[in-house]
């Protein structure tokens, strides 16, 4: 079973085998379910970099997983998407998939990503230290609502 990094640990993928909907599919299924949507099991969706969180805004409360897929690791839109999802109040798992790299983990996690699904899951334990490259940051972000200047002593 493939492993992922979730909440700072290497674990078996809890969403293994789950079908990831596109925003269009998600919207369509929501319309189909109507009022029943609220009681249905949480669903999983995947965003590509031209699909901002606004495309799924109405369905956030029935999502358990939002995967954001990196077509290349330098596509910085994904970072903003995660932050916006958190600002919209989404509290479920945000997972990086695709071509992101280990050396981005610290920033990704600051932006609100809580899970990381590498294309190659061979050496995940080795990647964990990158989550804690820094023990302090200047900016407010998803992991720290207050900027440093409100916390300095």
């Amino acid at each position: 079973m493939p492993d992922v990094i979730k909440d700072g640990r290497v674990v078996a993928d809890p969403w293994q085998g789950q079908n990831l909907l596109t925003p269009q599919e998600l919207n369509a299924s929501g319309a189909l379910l109507g009022a029943a949507a609220a009681d249905a099991a949480p669903v999983a969706v995947v965003l590509a970099p031209d699909q901002p969180p606004s495309t799924i805004e109405g369905d956030l409360n029935r999502l358990g997983l939002v995967a954001i897929n990196f077509p290349v690791f330098t596509d910085g839109r994904c970072f903003s998407y995660a932050r916006e999802l958190r600002e919209l109040g989404y509290t479920g798992e945000i997972r990086a998939t695709g071509k992101f790299i280990r050396d981005q983990l610290f920033f990704l996690q600051r932006c609100g990503f809580t899970a990381f699904q590498f294309e190659d899951d061979a050496n995940l334990e080795d990647c964990l230290p990158s989550l804690t490259d820094f023990s302090e940051s200047y900016q407010a972000a998803a992991d720290q609502p207050e900027p440093l200047f409100r916390r300095r002593d």
Partner: protein, 552 residues
Amino acid sequence: MYVYDQYDQRMIDERVNQYRDQTRRFLDGMISEDEFLPLRLHNGLYVQRLAPMLRIAIPYGMLSSRQLRKLAQISRDFDKGYAHFSTRQNLQLNWPELAEVPDILAELASVQMHAVQTSGSCIRNTTSDEYAGVAADELEDPRPWCELIRQWSTLHPEFAFLPRKFKIAVCGAEQDRAAIHTHDIGLELVPHPESGEIGFKVLVGGGLGRTPVIGSVICDWLEKKHLITYLEAILRVYNQLGRRDNKYTARIKILVKAMGVQAFRERVEAEWVRLKDGPSTLTEAEISRCQGFFTAPAYRHCDAAAVTAQLQAQAAGNKRFGNWLQRNTVDHRVAGYRIVNIALKATGYAPGDISDRHMEAVADLADTYSFGEVRTTHQQNLVLADVAQEDLYELWQKLDGLGLAIANLGYLTDIICCPGGDFCALANAKSIPVAEAIQSRFDDMDYVYDLGPLDLNISGCMNACGHHHIGHIGVLGVDKKGAEFYQVSLGGSQAKDASIGKILGPSFRREDMPDVIEKILATYVNLRTPEETFLDTYRRVGLDPYKERVYA
């Protein structure tokens, strides 16, 4: 100047460790070239034509003498004993070893310096007015704001992978010495039209490079406490909508043009609503904490009339000193003081280059004469900002002894020039030899002074690191079927009435450049009225007379 506390120091130390580990993994083959590229760029390391180049951040141009000595030591221990001040107030080492860069960064961290985000598609070092805090025409010191921006932008988790590089400049004076019109974001401290309260005018989408654009005003007046949230909103819009498919259309200026300023502003405002008044809103306490690092030093009281009389006598008695005093020193806000410019533009040296010995000598002079501080300028010179008038003659003698008293600040031979084809892998043509040839041709200082203020800027390619578009005379290296040619433009300006130069016509061979410049200058001298500067005359008569003469 700003002094790190435990938090600042810890982050910079951790950055060194992070990059040390990344370098090790790269050298062990565990990180690919492609993946390592942005990691090293974010730590200032380019791979150049001949060797790597390391760009060290000098936040808004401020250096302590201790830091300058450290830079001297680094350039001696890790490089060839000299370094290059860039047009963005930074310092570049041309020959560091990739494997030794972590050690260099550790040395820098020991004096509260770094190379974070000096390259790559991220928010770069914020630049400012080299006369900040001492200029006679200043409304408010921009440096505390630069420091706040430095902290906000340093290791910003959301904006490390922007479509393209992103540069912010701040100015707080009558005269714009920070070229805010040609930055991705330009900030100007301005009074509110009614209340008089000082806030920020915000410009966006200025830039040089392949498509030079003057920035557009996106906000006429922004209350200071909203600075960070507003910047965050702009960056977020750019990060999401900026083009990523083609690096030539990826800068924010292209996005602003494509959307139109009004639509761009609306997007920013929509984003800002969510951030405004949130936790990143600046507090009074934080603003005054940062301002507290930029207070006036203990200026000496003096008999201004007596000192001025003495200075006049010294200038009259020594013409070279008189020239230097007139050209290279500037009015200071405080009576009895002057701002001193050290021009790094001696003929025979690449503009902006400085040796380790000279760095140490300047550090000593800063300790003796200017409260231990030095500034770098985007004209690639150095500034001692607080020199008592009564010390000027002595300081000049020492600078002269070092060969650092060239009295050409703001004149033709004070050329701004990028490293060009001698060092830079991106170059179309060499730029340093062109600067040298022009400096050698115009070695008659009386003629140079007679020409009046003149900005001559040279870039070795479209990337415009020499800011050629905003030179009164701009020179751009171009490639014509594999040969190096030079395109000349006239009428650029980096002042508040900023303008982009217009291309004169077909490009020239390198050996013809001194002649071309000579003809342009002769045309100006012929046409000018007694009061007119080069730029004034150009703006009155246009390109044609110059064209006729040069291509005759």
